[in-house]
């Protein structure tokens, strides 16, 4: 008994140490970012967040176009990826014949294993020309809308969002598929018993699993925010705050990767590090918001769907 207890304690301490390592690393990153960005934080203060001039020659640095580009491309990517991912998940777990399921699962997961530089190359040689063609063939009346203004270059926000969407799909689709599998059979049977059609039964299952699915979407969002290489290869790398999906934009991760190696003066380096800090904070806020969302949803779900269990708990 005693030996077993000691082993348990040792096990608990070891795993506990590993877990606390995560906390230490996150804190260390935050501390280092703040320290290295201090020159820039002192010089620009809050203006760093809302000014849009990025001029290494004169030493003026504002992060707004990069924040804008990052959020715009990631949100657009999610809008594209979410319905497709849900469609994939539903088809694999509910509708596909058994012999097709495993190959489909394998292929979606393969998408996650492709290195981002390969996505970037594919983007440059295949996606960008296709997007350029599509942009050019839009009717003029549509092109007058602010969302589609500017010359059809191919390189720009739309290409970046499409690449990001493809990169995010395997994450969201896998999570959604796993969650649909965990929906109790009683849910579906209940729906059918009430005379639901197949579509309605699946909708009920999706509704049941919704908090987990949102978590999956947020996982994809996190990936989209930080993606660097594939994005910088197709987004056009021009810092501007524009509504147009055809216009070139820039993201936070991309500007750090692009300019860090040649940045030699202290303020410039420190401004780049502050961009990293901003990205860190934006990711933190997004993750926190999604946690809160999931938490409130699962609470209301427990309360609404299973009042007995909730009361017992």
């Amino acid at each position: 008994m005693r030996r077993k207890g000691r082993a348990d304690l040792g096990f608990r301490c070891t795993t506990g140490a590993f877990a606390s390592l995560v906390v230490v690393i996150v804190c260390a990153i935050a501390v280092v970012l703040v320290m290295d960005a201090w020159t820039s934080i002192q010089k620009f203060g809050l203006a760093f967040w809302y000014t849009s001039v990025w001029n290494p020659v004169t030493g003026e640095f504002g992060a707004l176009p990069f924040i804008w580009g990052t959020l715009y491309s990631s949100v657009l990517a999610l809008l594209i990826a979410t319905p497709i991912s849900l469609g994939i998940a539903v088809f694999i777990s509910e509708l596909a014949p058994e012999w097709l399921q495993q190959p489909l699962v394998f292929l979606t997961e393969l998408l996650a294993a492709i290195p981002s530089i390969v996505y970037g190359l594919w983007g440059v040689f295949v996606l960008v020309p296709a997007v350029r063609w599509a942009e050019g063939s839009l009717p003029d009346r549509v092109r007058e809308l602010p969302f589609f203004a500017g010359p059809p270059l191919g390189l720009g926000l739309l290409s970046a969002a499409l690449i990001l969407a493809i990169m995010v799909i395997p994450f969201t689709a896998s999570v959604a598929r796993e969650l649909l599998k965990t929906v109790p059979a009683a849910q579906r049977e209940g729906a059918y018993a009430l005379g639901a059609t197949r579509f309605e039964a699946i909708r009920a299952a999706l509704f049941y699993a919704r908090s987990g699915i949102i978590a999956g979407i947020m996982l994809g969002f996190g990936r989209a925010l930080g993606e660097t290489m594939a994005v910088t290869m197709v987004i056009g790398n021009s810092p501007q705050v524009s509504l147009s999906m055809f216009a070139p934009h820039y993201t936070m991760a991309a500007v750090i990767a692009n300019e860090f190696a040649e940045a030699s003066d202290e303020l410039y380096l420190s401004a780049l590090v502050e961009i990293g800090l901003v990205l860190f904070l934006v990711t933190l806020v997004v993750n926190t918001l999604s946690r809160v969302l999931i938490w409130t949803m699962s609470r209301s779900a427990t309360a609404a769907l299973e009042p007995d269990v909730a009361a017992a708990a």
Binding site: V57, N237, S238, A261, A263, S264
Partner: protein, 343 residues
């Protein structure tokens, strides 16, 4: 594009080398350097060839970028640095030790374009106005005037520049700022600048790739990249009024023009030099050494290496797409190498 992959592979290789170097630390003298990516192909060729002559010497070079090379040298983490732009007075003052510049090879930057015309000529002011976003169409009068007889379409110009900080951008902006005061005031000279217009692409290959794909686009890349990718590049009118296309000869001749007025520290720009056949957008690439290093044996080897690279080694330059240094500059450098303290 391929540059990114190559860089990635190199990075993997470095990681692998770092992992095994502990085990294979031979008796050989190892010297570490870091800096510009532009001279990387010829430097690695030189270090490999030099290793054949002196098998006890191993020189490692990491192409991290000029800025990173200067930072590492100043901090003392590497023995020598390399840069496509000379260190600024401020950077030299910030360094704890005296740093010397030695030009090693010459590079040129060329304007590439995607238009269905046989050949094009640009002038400095026209290139500056295109990159300032003031000339927006190929049929602009200023371009037509430089190219009599060439049918230029009324097409929007898509400007392409480097996305990341680079020595190529430094040379390009250095030239444009010399020929256009407007460019000097609104953009300035640096490895990375605030472009008023255009798209950013990563690496020389990235710029060449975008220009190849986009009709009506213009970009700037190292001469060697333009030649290798088979993309059309234009001649540029030099300060003597002649339209000159970049070749190893016209670039070497630009450097020969500067030899007569070479400052003793070799920190000199050779864009827009006078000379009838000089190509105006060219630059030295410099190797940076500490004047009085604590590691005297390594300093001695580096001096020996430079003496070899500046003479024998120059023959490797043209085949790799670099212009060799003119003899006049080599003579000045041979004398200046005596300043490096080796004992």
């Amino acid at each position: 594009m391929t540059e990114s992959i190559r860089r990635y592979c190199r990075w993997l290789a470095c990681a692998a080398v770092a992992a095994v170097s502990g085990a294979s630390a031979a008796a050989a003298v190892q010297i570490h350097g870091a800096g510009a990516t532009f001279p990387y192909p010829i430097y690695s060729k030189w270090f490999a060839e030099f290793n054949k002559l002196r098998s006890d010497v191993e020189i490692n070079y990491q192409s991290l970028g000029s800025g990173a090379g200067i930072r590492q040298l100043t901090k003392g983490t590497v023995f020598f640095g390399a840069s496509d732009g000379p260190m600024t007075d401020e950077q030299l003052r910030a360094a704890p030790e005296r740093i010397l510049h030695f030009p090693t090879v010459l590079g040129a930057v060329v304007p590439i374009y995607n238009l269905p015309v046989a050949s094009l000529t640009f002038s400095g002011p026209v290139l500056a106005d295109i990159y300032l976003g003031k000339i927006t169409k190929w049929s602009d009068r200023a371009i037509v005037a430089l190219n009599p007889g060439v049918e230029l379409p009324s097409l929007e110009i898509t400007v392409v520049h480097r996305a990341e900080g680079s020595g190529t951008t430094y040379i390009w902006t250095d030239y444009l700022a010399k020929v256009s005061s407007d460019f000097k005031d609104t953009v300035g000279v640096a490895q990375a600048v605030r472009w008023p217009t255009g798209l950013g692409a990563r690496g020389n290959e990235g710029v060449a790739g975008v220009v190849k794909q986009t009709r009506g686009s213009i970009g700037y890349v190292e001469m060697v990249v333009a030649i290798h990718s088979g993309i059309a590049y234009g001649a540029v009118v030099n300060s003597a009024g002649n339209a000159v296309k970049a070749t190893t000869e016209s670039v070497t001749s630009a450097a020969a023009e500067i030899a007569r007025v070479m400052p003793s520290d070799f920190r000199v720009s050779i864009t827009n030099v006078s000379g009838k056949s000089a190509y105006p957008i060219a630059s030295f690439s410099w190797l940076l050494l500490v004047e009085d290093s604590r590691n005297k044996p390594a300093a001695k080897i580096m001096v020996e290496f430079l003496k070899w690279a500046l003479t024998e080694g120059q023959k490797f330059a043209p085949s790799l797409g670099y212009a060799p240094l003119p003899d006049s500059v080599v003579r000045l450098e041979m004398a200046a190498l005596a300043r490096v303290k080796t004992s």
